[in-house]
Amino acid sequence: MNFKNILGLLCAAAISVLPAGNAFSQEKTVKIGAVFPLSGGSASAGVHAKAAIEVAMDIINNAHPEFGNFPLAKNAGLAGLGGAKVEVVFADNQGSPATGQNQTLRLITEEKVVAITGAYQSGVTLTASAIAEKYGIPFVNGESVAANLTERGFKWFFRVTPVAADFAKIFYEFLADMKAAGAKTDNVAIVHDTTEYGTSVASVIASVFKERGQPIALDIAYTSNATDVQSQVLQLKEKKPDVAIMITYTPDAILYQKTMQSLDYKPPMIIADDSGYSDPSFIKAVGKISQGVFNRSSWSVGPPGSPTALIAEMYKKKTGDDLDDTAARAMQAFFVLCEAIDRAGSTEPAKIQAALRATDLKPDQLMMGYKGVKFDEKGQNVLAAGLIIQLQDGENYVAVWPKANAAKSPMLPFKGW
């Protein structure tokens, strides 16, 4: 047997042994599955969500008295389960609905997780949660906004984040306020990709605006992970909308901003629907040519010493990046899930499900700017809320609307570069 054959055998052996390494587990742990896109085009968002959940694990599993009354922080582990530690098994859905489904199945049947969180893209959450539903395992989602996710009559699916319709109303009211302040907002264009997320959010925004007597003037759909977006930007340049609403994931968001700059086109107002425009690597890559972009968010860093400021600090220390809205919403969902498990005092899926149904968290128990967490019979958090933020200096988003939550007043028009 020559060297190459032996090497080949070793490789084969290594491949067969690798997955088994994760299989052992410790006593007195609560095993939760987390399905996120850790590779593929949305890996950036998935990796940030994973880091946020790891910060949450630190807060839950170790004693953090400095957090005051923030749930699960004070003592180490889950008090309701005798101080049991929370263990998270991360799985990579590669941004693909099929992989998301397979990985969820693996987490439930092989890893024996008691609950699941994830899966970032609405299209992946759609398939992954269907598996959890089939096996009767609670699935708590913090960041997917497609409306249909909670319209399937599922009993085991809970969504903490505001949904597309909530944000569409926020966009509409924000624009109405801007109009009252003298800005032109009549002519609204929507640019969106054709993923589950892009199409559903675009149609919800279009119908919310139409109901209120302001139909969308221009709808530009494109296929995500584009190699080029010049034609789309030129369409905007020709039709001259007052407002461009961008519903895109990170790679395309970067390409749109680069292309607007190279074609010297500035819409008077850009409103981003979170996702790509909230990715910290978007800000690092093209923040400087995107000054004045509006975005939606439910996350803002509170005053020094507050739980939100402490979380922001821990996250920054761990990753070197600022905590963004998407990762923060994923983290909030994880806290909601763990709080329910703690209250259930059990790792039995049915008891966790019952505890989730009874969830009633107040604003001061949350890290996000929601009015609370309370699920309706569809599993949707009815107290979810959001605000408008703006990338004024090209480096950090600041809250600009509504006035009560604003750190600065909105800057108009879009400055760009």
């Binding site: 890996a43 977006v229 010049q230 369409q235 790679p251 680069k258 570069w417």
Partner: protein, 287 residues
């Protein structure tokens, strides 16, 4: 014609030149040596990262980044040839496909591990910003990529048709045993072909990095276009790849502008399949 429409066409031509640029390396390897290199898109990605590293370390633009990328990728091409391709060429076709596919994943996830999943970007004005020509916006970085695409195409074409090195490479591609009997060493010729192909691909990556985002998975986004460009242009025809790249760029831009961006891939691929039905050897390929 409205000025916007002219801008769409010019944009399409510049885009097409870029497609041609990053397809030229694939033409050489796939078209001539009959090896389907699935790692091609990831070679482009590596070229982009080399340009990014050169800029981060030395603050230097593509003037330094591009030659560096050519050097690094050409070396990698030789290593890949001797370490992998030479052996898997002896195996069945499937081994070649899966071998280069494995290489693609290895490269992608090595970069992923080293640089992380973050999207990176070079400063917008590294190659002199954007200028106006009679109301048309021309981005200097794209123009540079377009000009280099023409030069690379011309250079490769001359190399293959006018030099003895080119004739030897073609001889090996045609019949390696016969070439060996004529005193040509197939191994060195193939290695040189891989070095040139990978070097050209690295050059493409370094130039594309000046106007595109950089991420470990960018090869997936760009790779498929390269395969289509090469088959439309005709296997082994370097000028064919240029023509095909330009055609795809303009058709994409026009259909995205006139019909809608969602439909542009449908238009491009329907035309592509229709064209191959009439002319399976591609634009300039030999029957």
């Amino acid at each position: 014609m409205s000025s916007i429409l002219v801008q769409v066409i010019v944009g399409g031509l510049l885009l097409g030149a870029v497609y041609a640029l990053f397809s030229s390396g694939l033409t050489l390897v796939w078209g001539m040596m009959n090896i389907l290199n699935f790692a091609h898109g990831d070679f482009v990605m590596l070229g982009m990262y080399v340009a990014f590293v050169v800029w981060t370390l030395f603050g230097a633009g593509p003037w330094a980044g591009a030659p560096m990328a050519v050097l690094v990728l050409a070396t990698l091409g030789v290593v890949v040839y001797f370490g992998l391709i030479r052996d898997i060429m002896k195996g069945p076709m499937l081994a070649q496909i899966l071998g280069t596919f494995g290489l693609a994943l290895l490269l992608r996830y090595s970069v992923f591990w080293w640089f992380g999943a973050n999207f990176l970007s070079l400063p917008e004005n590294l190659v002199g910003g954007t200028f106006d020509v009679m109301g048309l916006r021309i981005q200097a970085s794209r123009l540079l990529a377009g000009v280099v695409a023409l030069l690379v195409t011309l250079g490769l074409h001359l190399l293959l048709t006018r030099t003895s090195l080119g004739s030897k490479m073609l001889a090996v591609a045609e019949d390696s045993t016969a070439a060996q009997l004529m005193g040509i060493r197939p191994d060195s010729m193939q290695a040189i072909a891989w070095a040139i192909a990978a070097g050209a691909t690295g050059l493409a990556g370094a130039l594309i990095a000046t106007f595109f985002y950089i991420v470990p998975t960018v090869g997936e986004t760009l790779g498929i276009v390269a395969f289509v460009t090469v088959s439309l242009g005709g296997f082994g025809s370097v000028p064919g790849a240029l023509l095909a790249g330009l055609a795809i760029g303009v058709i994409e831009s026009l259909s995205a502008y006139l019909i809608g961006a969602v439909y542009k891939d449908m238009v491009v691929y329907a035309l592509f399949l229709g064209f191959l039905w009439f002319r399976p050897q591609g634009l300039l390929g030999k029957t």
